[in-house]
């Protein structure tokens, strides 16, 4: 299943570059698709499967940008980390559909803020972040909602305990 996630993540990077920058006037307010995907997958399936999934999107975004691949790797790094911590913290309690999707949304919202903040600092607009808190909130909410949606779509892929005769 990790390969499936890696392929989805690979597709999410050009989507991020092509769609969000065309649909949203302020790039700071755009939802972060790879982050939403990673958070959703970690919440519904296994968090450890998500680490390899940030490598290819970082490369694709890096070569599509004047910014370095390394900065995209660092910006995406909090996504599996936060998802991993959130899932580990809530897994004993988080069993149902809604609880898992909400965990995905929360993790994605926080990771998206860190992603946007990291790239804003690297891009030289870190000083503007306080006055553009609205845009940060928008990217956070949009990424969180997207993660909830992706988590709902990934729900059939959740690991299930096998019965005696399965």
């Amino acid at each position: 299943m990790t390969a499936v996630l890696v392929m989805l993540a690979l597709v999410s990077a050009p989507l991020q570059a092509a769609i969000t920058t065309a649909l949203v006037r302020d790039p700071l307010a755009a939802p972060v698709i790879p982050v939403a995907l990673v958070a959703a997958w970690a919440a519904v399936r296994r968090a450890e499967e998500t680490w390899p999934a940030i490598l290819l999107p970082a490369v694709v975004l890096g070569v599509a940008s004047e910014e370095r691949v390394g900065w995209f790797l660092i910006a995406l790094l909090p996504a599996p980390l936060i998802a991993s911590v959130a899932v580990r913290r809530f897994r004993p309690k988080v069993t149902g559909f809604w609880r898992r999707t909400v965990t995905a949304g929360g993790a994605a919202a926080l990771a998206a803020v860190l992603y946007a903040s990291t790239l804003a600092v690297v891009g030289g607009i870190g000083g503007e972040l306080p006055e553009r808190a609205g845009a940060l909130l928008a990217t956070s909410v949009a990424s969180g909602l997207l993660a909830v949606l992706v988590a709902a779509c990934c729900w059939p892929l959740r690991p299930r305990s096998r019965g005696l005769f399965e």
Partner: protein, 285 residues
């Protein structure tokens, strides 16, 4: 066990990222990045092509009111332009006489090709786009890129065989020689990531909102007379030597799809060769 594996992944990726950043100043890193970009570009274009219809619907659905208003404004503008056309015909004769002189200076800027924007820079604070044409189509670093109405959008900064990157004039690292059309005062037009500022214009110069800003041939890096923007705001602080002039770009830099690259222009050169002059008179693709 799981947390140990996660810690290993985290450390590995972080170290890898830091190594990439440390090695990035080396020329070979740029070369590898360019090759990776060339390898990735077809996939990006494929995805972009697949999602284009959805994107178009989503973009234009939110713009119906704006497009209607724009349409009405354009109709009015067309009526005014038709009236102007009659008087301009008279001026054409004089212009043709001057054209020979202009050709010897700027004819090398005449050859153009069209290109499609396939990507916008996803990094925050960066204003650049990637075009689907490269050196195979005659694009070179330093060539100006124009949008609708022949307004300057940016300058080519990187080229490979089939792709090129254009730094938009609003990028923080962009600075072009420009002048105010009304007073012929030259200045440096710099971007701040969102809008444009015309620097080094003396406090004595009269500048008013609405004044047209054109490119200047100073430095030989751009052909003269390309439309860039209009003065939006002028401030003249007492303690400063220069005015603070905000310029609104004429091109819609947020919605660029097709652009024109001036492949006939060679930065730093003024005299056109004969075949370039032919290109200037004959040919845009």
């Amino acid at each position: 066990m799981t947390s140990a594996r996660s810690a290993a992944w985290f450390s590995g990726i972080l170290i890898g990222a830091l190594m990439l950043l440390a090695l990035s100043p080396l020329p070979v890193a740029g070369d590898i990045e360019a090759r990776a970009g060339a390898a990735v570009a077809p996939a990006v274009e494929l995805v972009r092509g697949a999602i284009q219809p959805i994107t178009d619907v989503a973009i234009h659905a939110g713009q119906i009111d704006q497009l209607s208003a724009e349409n009405a404004a354009l109709r009015q503008e067309l009526s005014r332009v038709q009236a102007d056309l009659a008087s301009l015909r008279e001026g054409r004769i004089a212009t043709e006489q001057a054209a020979a002189l202009v050709a010897s200076l700027g004819a090398n800027a005449g050859k153009t090709i069209t290109a499609t924007v396939i990507l916008r820079d996803p990094a925050l604070g960066r204003q650049s786009v990637v075009l689907n044409q490269g050196s195979d189509a005659g694009i070179e670093v330093g060539q100006p890129v124009l949008g609708s109405g022949a307004t300057l959008l940016g300058i080519v900064t990187e080229v490979n065989e089939s792709r090129s990157r254009v730094r938009l004039i609003t990028d923080r690292e962009s600075a072009v020689a420009a002048l105010l059309q009304s007073s012929r005062t030259a200045g440096s037009l710099v971007g701040d990531g969102d809008t444009l500022w015309l620097d080094f214009v003396s406090l004595k110069t009269t500048v008013a909102p609405g004044d047209v800003v054109l490119t200047s041939a100073l430095g030989g890096l751009l052909p003269p007379g390309l439309l860039v923007g209009r003065v939006a705001k002028v401030e003249a602080p007492d303690q400063e030597l220069h005015q603070r002039i905000e310029v609104a770009p004429l091109g819609d830099l947020d919605r660029i799809e097709q652009v024109l690259v001036m492949t006939g222009f060679r930065p730093g050169t003024h005299l056109a060769s004969d075949d370039q002059r032919e290109g200037a008179t004959g040919g845009s693709e």
